[in-house]
């Protein structure tokens, strides 16, 4: 960036930095407040004015507590929720990537009748509001007698699959045709070409879309709430947290909810950190080329 001078330049730089700080605060404050609250006891939570860090009500000294975390981690409901969420989100992601990359390869690289309509149909599906299919889907699932976990996986595919297919299609399209033809001449079948030549080259896009699909499935609440109404043991983490009950009637275990919420973000942060470098190369590739 060119270094601007004078009052105007100073203002401009100040404005730019101010915007960055504003966005950061806007994004991070809720998370910070959740962590802050999760480290407080019941009495610390009800201090007025609320404190930016956990303080002792009497001495106002910094005194965080881990009691919420230990309570949450001993909570069978929450742990089962974590397990359920992992199963559901992982299955959704894996299935969406498998089916999505197959579809994307066909849509991006093979010539067949009805390719364009298929693409537009998939794009249209990404715009579908989930509420519209919720009741219908619930009826289908009860009629078929599917278990809650399986139903959730299927339901999540409704929005993850069109998305992964769409992004991966644009990625496959960008790979040179000559690569595929070269493999064909080398003696590869279409499936071998897909598996050993094109798929490895789409790895960055697979990681990025897979991660986004995982996050979407991990955070999903509406379908999970509806489908687990028949089977409380299948509740995923967002639903389990919502069902947290206090020790006393009408008590909202705010600290524990916040501790659980903070814990739930950890897997996502870890995943993003692991795949960080891949995402950086994958995101623009998927976005710009799409």
């Amino acid at each position: 960036m060119k270094k601007s001078s004078g009052t105007f330049g100073v203002l401009k730089r100040f404005g730019f930095n101010f915007m960055i700080i504003f966005i950061l605060v806007y994004l991070l404050f809720p998370f910070y407040w959740a962590v802050n609250s999760s480290l407080k006891t019941e009495s610390q939570l009800f201090m007025a004015p609320a404190t930016a860090i956990p303080r002792d009500p009497a001495t106002l000294e910094f005194s965080p507590t881990m009691q919420n975390y230990s309570a949450v981690l001993r909570d069978g409901q929450f742990l089962r929720g974590l397990a359920n969420s992992s199963i559901v989100a992982t299955s959704t992601t894996v299935l969406a990537l498998i089916a999505g990359s197959f579809a994307a390869f066909a849509l991006g690289k093979l010539r067949f009748r009805g390719r364009r309509p298929a693409l537009y149909l998939i794009l249209a599906m990404t715009m579908f509001p989930q509420v519209t299919v919720l009741t219908g889907l619930y009826a289908v699932i009860t009629a078929l007698g599917l278990s809650a976990r399986v139903s959730m996986i299927f339901a999540y595919m409704i929005f993850t699959l069109p998305f992964t297919t769409w992004v991966l299609t644009s990625f496959f399209k960008e790979l040179p045709d000559a690569l595929m033809e070269s493999a064909q001449v080398d003696g590869a079948t279409t499936f071998q070409t897909f598996k050993s030549i094109l798929l490895p080259l789409t790895a960055p896009a697979l990681v990025t879309t897979g991660l986004l699909a995982f996050i979407a499935a991990w955070n999903e609440y509406l379908f999970a709430l509806t489908f687990t109404s028949i089977d409380p043991t299948a509740r995923t983490v967002p639903v389990a947290i919502a069902y947290f009950a206090g020790a006393v009637a009408r008590q909202e275990p705010f600290g524990e909810i916040m501790a659980a919420a903070s814990l739930v973000t950890v897997p996502l942060v870890v995943l993003v950190l692991i795949f960080q470098r891949r995402i950086v190369t994958g995101l623009p590739a998927g976005a710009v080329k799409g």
């Binding site: 690569l179 033809e181 064909q184 001449v185 080398d186 079948t189 050993s196 490895p200 080259l201």
Partner: protein
């Protein structure tokens, strides 16, 4: 090692564009066939149909007398070198070359042997562990060749393999390809838009234009006896000079008249015209190559006198751009002649090397179908 036979091959793309029209030719075993023509002439489409990457709309394609129209590329026993090399970016050079053999379930030991053999032919021994992006353009090009060599295919197909190399490397690789052809003794089919590549490497050349085969001949014949004005202009650099002219016949003496000069045809040329039933032609195009013009200093006002507009000294030869009464023609002369811009020179046409073309159909008037 294989012969090919193309019978009435047509290619019409789904949008209705006719890329290739009624192409017929045979390729003998161990030939180095070059398909040449300007961009969009259908030469790559022909190659891709031979490879099986493009469907043949109508016609028959035989490899070793076997009809292969509906045979998939992997079962045609061909290897292809692509213009942008199409190396597999995520594989090492060794794996790039071994991929085709692995798919054919060749034993590991043999794969290693044939990859190393191909690598030594191409001087790639030290690069086998690298990835394609770590190689220079010339090295990548050789890997693409190596990938084809290890397969030991019946037919080698090459789609403008030299066009991404710099000029010097291109000349070098041209010679290497010719050597490779002799060494492998396999049928090569090579596509290029560069007539120099065609002339230097091909044992036979197929000239295409607008999807139609113009002429199929060995380089010498193509150069000396082009079938029409297009081939005459396309083959040779700098290109043949074309001058609008008229034919006149007086008492058996046939001469070609054009602005600023005339050329009297030799008796055997008149016979040839007679045989071709072209003696009555009035409006023709006279064609003559730059090296078939003899230039001397002009002493006075005569016929065939031109003014030098530009001189291009190439070292071993000089090209003169001459203004011959409004026609710009190029002549190749000896640099020791020391002719300068604005000099007036006398241009002598070597009559035996004059070509005549029909102004309407562009057909060569002397061309005799054999």
């Amino acid at each position: 090692m294989a012969s090919l036979n193309l019978v009435d091959i047509n290619k019409v793309f789904p949008n209705g564009f006719v890329a290739v029209k009624d192409v017929n030719f045979q390729i003998e075993d161990k030939e180095f066939i070059v398909l040449v023509g300007p961009s969009g002439c259908g030469k790559s489409t022909v190659l891709r149909m031979i490879a099986g990457l493009e469907e043949i709309t109508s016609g028959e394609l035989y490899i070793d007398d076997e009809l292969v129209n509906d045979v998939s590329p992997k079962d045609r026993d061909i290897a292809m070198v692509f213009q942008n090399y199409a190396l597999y970016p995520h594989m090492s050079i060794f794996d790039n070359m071994a991929y085709g053999l692995k798919l054919r379930k060749m034993p590991k030991e043999e794969i290693k042997k044939s990859v190393e053999n191909a690598a030594s032919i191409l001087g790639l021994q030290d690069l086998l562990d690298r990835k394609p992006k770590q190689l220079s353009g010339g090295q990548r090009q050789r890997v693409a060749l190596g990938r084809a060599i290890v397969r030991d295919p019946k037919v080698f197909l090459m789609d403008e393999p030299l066009s991404n190399l710099d000029a010097k490397l291109r000349v070098q690789t041209r010679a290497e390809l010719s050597k490779l052809h002799l060494r492998l003794a396999t049928t090569f089919i090579y596509v290029t838009h560069d007539q120099t590549e065609a002339m230097t490497m091909g044992t036979r050349i197929v000239v295409l234009k607008d999807g139609l085969v113009q002429q199929i001949a060995d380089p010498t014949t193509l150069y000396k006896d082009p079938i029409n004005q297009f081939v005459a202009g396309f083959i040779g650099s700098p290109q043949m000079n074309f001058i609008e002219a008229g034919l006149s016949d007086s008492n058996g003496k046939v001469s070609v008249d054009f602005k600023g000069g005339r050329v009297e045809l030799k008796p055997e040329m008149v016979t040839s015209l007679k045989n071709n039933d072209r003696l009555g032609e009035k409006d023709v195009i006279l064609g003559i190559r730059p090296e078939h013009l003899d230039v001397t200093r002009a002493d006075g006002e005569e016929d065939n006198v031109a003014t030098v507009e530009v001189t291009e000294l190439l070292g071993s030869e000089t090209y003169l751009f001459l203004d011959l009464n409004g026609n710009t023609i190029i002549a190749r002369v000896d640099p020791t002649l020391n002719i300068q811009v604005h000099d007036r020179v006398k241009v002598l046409f070597q009559v035996e090397n004059v070509h005549l073309f029909d102004r309407e159909t562009e057909a060569a008037l002397f061309y005799e179908a054999k």
